[in-house]
């Protein structure tokens, strides 16, 4: 099958992050396949009707089971993703949500690179001191039939945001320190 990129590679690594080398092939990674859902317009309409105080359905929220039943992916798409992971990477995937709209599989970085046609690198956020493995610059590709069954796969191209609260004023302790003058 032709290979398709569900998401574009990242040309500019986000500010604060730097690439410090290749990811070790034996490091473990949990890939998360977001399987395409159905009836999304119905979900949207239901959300607005239960959330609008002027709606007669206001407050009539759906149960978790009902929400997941409403948008459950097709059995074919679920099977396609399962088969792809199992056949190519040789690992057993599992459903990460009640209706299998997320399917995860733990494997090595080496297996993930082979599965996704990707190259994982270690990214480090200097200020936060956080390191992640991402295939941001290489991107990833999936066989056409698998790409048609998923919205995206993570962690791949997306680099997490890091937010740190600021200190904008002196603490009470600092305020009582007098200047030499």
């Amino acid at each position: 099958q032709a290979l398709v990129a569900p998401e574009p590679a990242v040309t500019d690594i986000p500010s604060g992050w730097s690439v410090i080398g290749e990811s070790p092939k034996d490091a473990r990674i949990e890939l998360n396949f977001a399987v395409k859902q159905r009836n999304l317009q119905s979900l949207h309409d239901t959300l607005l009707s239960v959330s609008d105080p002027k709606s007669p359905s206001y407050g009539e929220h759906l149960s978790n089971e009902a929400v997941h039943a409403l948008i459950k992916p097709s059995d074919e798409d679920i099977a396609t993703v399962h088969s792809f992971i199992n056949t190519v990477a040789g690992v057993e995937p599992r459903a990460a949500s009640p209706n299998s709209d997320f399917i995860t599989a733990v494997m090595t970085i080496g297996q993930a690179e082979a599965l996704l046609g990707a190259k994982y690198e270690v990214l480090r956020h200097g200020r936060a001191g956080v390191q992640v493995h991402r295939a941001s610059r290489s991107g990833y590709r999936l066989p056409e039939s698998v790409a048609a069954a998923v919205d995206f796969v993570s962690p791949t191209v997306h680099v997490p945001g890091v937010r740190t609260a600021k200190k904008d004023q002196l603490s009470p302790l600092d305020e009582v320190v007098e200047s030499p003058n």
Binding site: G59, L62, N64, T104, Q131, F152, S154
Partner: protein, 364 residues
Amino acid sequence: VPQHNVPETLRQLYSIGFATVGNATSNRMAVTAFLGQMYSEEALKEYWAEYCSEQKLTCGKGLPTLVGDATTGTPGVESMLDIETITGVAGNVHAEFWGFAGRSPDNPENEPFMKWLTQMASTPDETVPLIFSTSYGEDEASWSYAAADRLNVEFAKAGTRGISLLYASGDEGANCEKGKYVPETPSSSPYVTAVGGTGPTTGYPKPGFEEGIGLSSGGFSNYWPMPEWQRGAVTKYLATAEHLPEKSVGYNTSGRAYPDIAAQATGFCVTPFGCGVAGTSCASPTAAGVFALLNDVRLSAGKPPLGFLNPFIYQSAAAFNDITVGNSGGGCGIGIGWPTAKAWDAVTGVGTPNFELLKAAVVQ
């Protein structure tokens, strides 16, 4: 008079008062933490002892439930700010701390934000928190359109179940990058409630004296169209506000506008780090605490929780303190960022919550 934002001042500011409000046993609220921001029970207990005991305030409802693959450890400013603030504002409501590392000795590399989403989707209705406050954000385009579109669906799933999602709007004001305004997400998602930031107009926080502050992020999404529930308010702002940014900075006036509301975002005390912490990371758990109490009012009245808040917020704008002073920064050097204005604006949304007024609105 306290010089900083602590439970006592925040409850005065937002008309919560000092009575124990929370009574509904099924009410739960949560904060989320990512990438190694850890929770410390010792620090939370110290915070409660310092800011709640002497004032005889009920803070939280026992120790928080810990959920996720990375919860306890060396406390982080962000994580402790979130849990201390939400339990300081909302007395007698059970809190949860949901923490995800992205990687740990026991867990393989993952996308912590996705771990949170799948955990929430797998938690039964009986035990899932009714409100999540998240102080996580990044440039909108850092998620591909395909992934961002899917995140919207996940947010919509939560709202349809009756779960409210509040996000810090961002700390970069109008967020100028390379001469253009850049929206921030998840606050730019039309399926969450974005919380901007205010500060005191005078030296210390007191009711009726708040202004929009420079760090408060807001603007317009480049991914998502403007929803109907905010169209009237935002259209009025664009038509009547003075000192709007020049069009050359590239904002998309047909996009989803944010923030939706605001709360104090400067001068917070965080144990064990000290006072003077700022950012919309302060505002989101503050607002979430108020809405957790409003959920309590509804549950106690035999009504369902508020769920996705935005249609209610825009229809109940009169129950918020309208912030008409101040502006955001980050304006590409050719202006002030966004100005505040009467009614909705791109710094403070419809304003800061007035619990007394909102309490009446949520049971109507």
